[in-house]
Subunit: 340 residues, 4 copies
Amino acid sequence: MIIVMHADASQEQLEAVVNRVVDAGMKTHVSRGETRTIVGCIGDEARVRELALHSLPGVQDVLPVEKPYKLASREFAAEPTVLPLGSGTVGDGAFAVIAGPCSVEGRDMLVKTARSVKAAGAVALRGGAFKPRTSPYAFRGLGLRALEMLAEVRDETGLPIVTEVMDTRHVSLVSQYADVLQIGTRSMQNFPLLSEVGKSDKLVLLKRGMSATLDDFLLAAEYVMNAGNAKVILCERGIRTFERAMRNTLDIGAVPYLKRETHLPVIVDPSHAAGERRLVHPLALAAVAVGADGLLVEVHPDPDSALSDGDQSLDFSAFANLMHAALAVRAAIQAAPRDL
Amino acid sequence: MIIVMHADASQEQLEAVVNRVVDAGMKTHVSRGETRTIVGCIGDEARVRELALHSLPGVQDVLPVEKPYKLASREFAAEPTVLPLGSGTVGDGAFAVIAGPCSVEGRDMLVKTARSVKAAGAVALRGGAFKPRTSPYAFRGLGLRALEMLAEVRDETGLPIVTEVMDTRHVSLVSQYADVLQIGTRSMQNFPLLSEVGKSDKLVLLKRGMSATLDDFLLAAEYVMNAGNAKVILCERGIRTFERAMRNTLDIGAVPYLKRETHLPVIVDPSHAAGERRLVHPLALAAVAVGADGLLVEVHPDPDSALSDGDQSLDFSAFANLMHAALAVRAAIQAAPRDL
Amino acid sequence: MIIVMHADASQEQLEAVVNRVVDAGMKTHVSRGETRTIVGCIGDEARVRELALHSLPGVQDVLPVEKPYKLASREFAAEPTVLPLGSGTVGDGAFAVIAGPCSVEGRDMLVKTARSVKAAGAVALRGGAFKPRTSPYAFRGLGLRALEMLAEVRDETGLPIVTEVMDTRHVSLVSQYADVLQIGTRSMQNFPLLSEVGKSDKLVLLKRGMSATLDDFLLAAEYVMNAGNAKVILCERGIRTFERAMRNTLDIGAVPYLKRETHLPVIVDPSHAAGERRLVHPLALAAVAVGADGLLVEVHPDPDSALSDGDQSLDFSAFANLMHAALAVRAAIQAAPRDL
Amino acid sequence: MIIVMHADASQEQLEAVVNRVVDAGMKTHVSRGETRTIVGCIGDEARVRELALHSLPGVQDVLPVEKPYKLASREFAAEPTVLPLGSGTVGDGAFAVIAGPCSVEGRDMLVKTARSVKAAGAVALRGGAFKPRTSPYAFRGLGLRALEMLAEVRDETGLPIVTEVMDTRHVSLVSQYADVLQIGTRSMQNFPLLSEVGKSDKLVLLKRGMSATLDDFLLAAEYVMNAGNAKVILCERGIRTFERAMRNTLDIGAVPYLKRETHLPVIVDPSHAAGERRLVHPLALAAVAVGADGLLVEVHPDPDSALSDGDQSLDFSAFANLMHAALAVRAAIQAAPRDL
C-alpha cells in the first residue's frame, strides 16, 4: 500500500501516518518527491486495508499495491486450473458447453432437451429448480421435483447437472442432486452462501454480479476457495450499464482480462447478456473467439412457450447451428499464431 | 401491455400475436397507425409478462403499461405509510435518524455511542453483528455476541435496534434481538431472505442494491410485503456508476421519485454513499432538503480506530453538528411554500 | 406515440391530453383497459416528440413507438450500404481493416507503418493529425504537417487516408487530404461538426460516444445523412461503465444490434476498448466473430516509444498475426450455417 | 507516479523500467517490499504520463500521484475564486441563481421571463440561441435573432446574459452579445471550443459531460484556463447511469468533492438532471443544502407550450416558490455549525 501525502502536509501529519502503519505491524519507507511525500508500506497489505488511513490529516490518497485476492490469483497458482465435467474437462484449452432450459418445466421437456444438446456437443445440462425472479409474481421453479427430474435425466443421458442454489438452507439438498452448484448473478455477493458452497465438494459455477467489478468477482471466488472448495468456474454474463437496448452489456473483454489474472476457468453466458435469441448466436461466437473456456446457453424445445426466459432461449436447431459455428471458430483461433 | 408491430409485419404475424395474447387470457385491441400496427392488451398484465412475445415474428417492441409492483405502489395505498420506531415514527413528515457504529466492536463503545446519538436526537441505534464484506479476509462482525450487546444497550437507553441479517438461517435469531431487520445492498435481491423477513413482524430496513433500478427496488419491497410484512422502510445509499471519485454515487433524485411512486417511507444513508467522513455532512443535508423521511448514519467513538468503515464514520461531535444542521434544514423546507 | 394515463385520471384530463395531441396535427385512438386508459397517437410522431406531454395532469407515461431516426434505419433502406474504400469496399460481407498509428509522428514512421499494414491486409491507413486529448498538456498532433505526410504516403502506397477532424473550421482543410473523415468519440454529439461533414463528399467514420446509447449513435449518423452525406461507417469503440479494469467496456453486442437496425456498415476499434495491447488481439477476434464489417486498429513501428496511445498499439508483427487470425475466424463464421 | 512491478519481475525488467523513466527526465526511487518492488518517479509527472509504461515487461500497475490538472487545483490557488456576475458575484458564499427559458422563442416571452426571474431573485438570464439537439429534426434555436433579443432584454432588465456556444466559428459572434459563454454537456470535451472560449474575456459556464469523471471535468476547465481565461464556473447537471427513471442522475456528491479539489465556483442545474418539473424543486434544494454556489434553472412563461424542454421547465410561480425555499435552506445551513 502506498500513502500519498498532500503537498502541504506537515511533518507531524507525516509522522502520525507512519506511526499508524507501524502500529498495524508493517514497515514504512518514506520517499520525498518534488511536490509531495509518499509513504510506502511494506508487509502484508491486509493488515492496513481496514484502517481509516484516508481520513488522517494530510493524506491525499491511499493506493493499494497488492491484489485483494490470493487463492484465485495467478501468483498463487501459475498453471491453469482444469476441472472434470462429465466425460470431459473445463479449463486450459478444454472447451465445455453447458446447455439446457432456464427452468425445468417437466420431465419430458427436460429429457428431450438433454438428448438434443448432448447430440450437438454439450457436456453438461443446465436447468433451474429454484429460480431467482425480480418479481414475486413470476414463476419461481418446481423446486425439489425439478431436482429429482434433473437427477433422473442425468442417469438417462450421462450428462452432469448444473443447477442454481440461492438459499444457504438448500445447499445440502441441491448437492444431493447436482454435479455443479450454480451461484447466480444476484447471489454473487451472498457471502454466507459462498461460504456454504465452499464447504461442498461439488464444482461451483459462479456468475458475475451485474455490477461487480472484476476484483469483486475474484473476491467472490476467493470466498468459496477460502472455505475449502477450489473447484470454481467463473461465468461472465453481462453487466448493467447505461445501455438498455439489450438486456445486459456483455463485457467480452472480461474474459481475457480474467484469464490473465486468475487460473480459474472462465466461461460466458450469451443468453442472459443478449436477452433475445437472435443475438445469442453472434455473442456466443464472440465469446469463443475471445478465448472463453466454454459457454452456458439456454435451450428449450419450444422457446415461444417457455415459462421463463423464452425470449432468449434457442430451439434445438439453432443450438446445433451454434455448436457447429462455435467449434469452427474455436478451431480457427487455435490454428492461428498467438500474439504475445 | 402494448405490442408494437414492425412496419412490414404481415397480417398472419399480427394474428399470431393476437392469438398468443388471447390464449393467455387477455383481450386485445388492434390499432392501425400510418406506419405500423399496435396491439393493446387488456387485462392483468402479469399474465403476459413472462411470454416470449418479443421473439414472435413481426414484433418490434413490447411496452409494459402497468407497474410490475402492486402492494408497494401509490395506487394500492394512496396514503403514506407511517411506521412506529422507538418513541417516534418514520414516514409522512416524521423525520427519523438512525445512527451507530458500522460494526458492534464491544459493549463499551456501543453504549457510549448509543447515549451520544440519542442525546443528539437519533431515534434508533444501528450496529452490525453479521457483516457482509467484499473480502473473506475482512472483519465479519461479532455475531451472536454483538446481538446480545445490542439488546442490552437497548434496555439501557431505550433506543430500538437496527441490525443486518444476511442469511435465511439467522432471521429467527436476529429477530429475537433486533427491532428492525436491515437488508443490505448486496442482499436486496436475495429473494429467499426477502421472503423470510416478510414472514417476520419486525420492521424491515431495505437498502437499495448498488445497481438496482428503482423498479427493482420496489419489487424487492414487494417480495417482503407479498410474504406478509408491510412494514418496509426504503433506504437509498448510493449506486455504482462510472464515477469512482466517491465510494458510490448518491442518487438523490431517487428520494422524491420513490415518494411519488410508493407510500413507503424513504430514508438515506449518506455514509456509504460518501465513503469518507468529510462528505457525509453535506450529503446528509442534501437528503434532508430533498425530502427524505430520515437518515442512517455511521457514528463511532473514535472513527480512526474503527474495525470497519472508519473512513466514513462520524465522531460524536460531528454527528451532533450534523443533527443540528439537519433539523435546521428540515425546518426551512417545511416552512417554505411547496411547489406543486 | 402512446400516452398512458394514470389509473385515477379524470375524463377532463384525458380530453386535455387528446386535444393537445390533435392540436399538434395527429389523430388519436383512445383505448380503455381494465385499470387505465391509453391514448394512441396516429401520424408523424416527430410532431409530438417535443411537446411537454409528460407533465400534463393525469399522464403516467409517454411511450415512443417510432424510431427517432429515419435515413439510418432499415425501414428506409432495407439493403445494406456498401461503401468503396480504396481498392475494396466496406459493408455487407466486405471486411475492411483500417490500421495505423494513433498520431502521425513523422514521415518515416508513417510510411513504414503504411507498407507493413498494407502487406498484412489492411485496406486503409489511419493516422491522427489533430488529436483530441483529455489534458491540455498532452501531445495534440502535428496538424497540417501530418495531413501533408498522410497524403504523401497515400500517393506512395495507394492506401486511402482516415484521419480525425474535430473543429468545424478544419473540415474543408482536412477534406483536401483525407479520404475518410473520422469523427471521434468526444465529437459524436458535436452537431455543427456532424452537419459540416454532412456537406462533404468524403466517407465519414463515426465513432460511438462513450456514453451514447445506440439510439443516440444512430441519431448522430442521421445528422450527417440529413445534411446530405449518406456515406457513414459506424464504429463501436467501447463505452464507459463502472468497470475500469480496462480503458473502456467493448459493447460487442452493439454490432449485431446495429446491423439489424441500420443498413450502415459497422466496424470495431479494439484498441481504444482494450487500452492495452495484450487485449487488442482477443477483442479484435471477438469483433470479427460477432459479425463486424471491419476493424480500426492502432499500429506503430515501436509502440513503447509512441507519443500517444503506445500502451494500446500493436507492432507490425502482432498486427500481422492479428490479421491472420481475423481472416481465419471470418472464414469460419462464413462457412458455418447461419442461425435465423 | 509510482510503478508497481509484478511479484516475479526480473532485475532486467526493473532496470528497463528505471531507464525509461530516467530517460524521460525524472529521478527514480526503488523500494523493495516483501512481495514486490515499487519504482517511485520523482519530478514532473507530466513527462511520463504519455509513456507506454504499462506495457513494459514486468510492470503490474502504474499509479499516478499528482492530479493531472494544475491551474484548476486548490494547490495552485488555495483561495476560492469569486467572479462578478451582473450586480452580484458567484463563488465563496455568494449564491447566484441563473434562470430563463431553454430556448429563446421570442422577444415577448423573453422579457416577461427576465422580469419575473429577476423579481424572484435571479441574478442572470439564461436563454438558448444555438441549441444542441440529439435529433436533427428537433428545434435548433433562433440563432442570431435570439442573440439580439437577449442583448435587448439585458438592456431593459440589467440581467447579464448566459447563452450556449457550440461551434468554434461562433465564439466571436456570441461574445458580442453574451456575458457568460455556456459550454454544454455535449461540448465539454470539444477541445478546440474550450481553447477558443479560453481566449475570450467572458465568463465561461462549463457543464459537466454526461459521462465525464470529475477529473475529466477539471481537465476541461484546465483547457479554458490554460488558454488564458480563468473565469470558469463549473456546473453539475446529472450524469448518465443505468438508472433511467429520471433523465439523468444528479451527482450531488460532486459538489462538495469539487469544492475541495478546486477553487472555481460550482453550481447545479437541477432541470436537466430531473427531466420533469415536479422533481426540479427538491433537487434544487438538495443542491443548495449540499453547498452549491448557485443554480441554473429553466423557467418559461407557459412550460406546457415550450418549444423545447417544456417538461422540465418551471413556470413563474413555481420558480418564485423555489427561490423562497432555496434562500431559506441557504440561511439554515449558513447558521448551523460547520463540521470539519
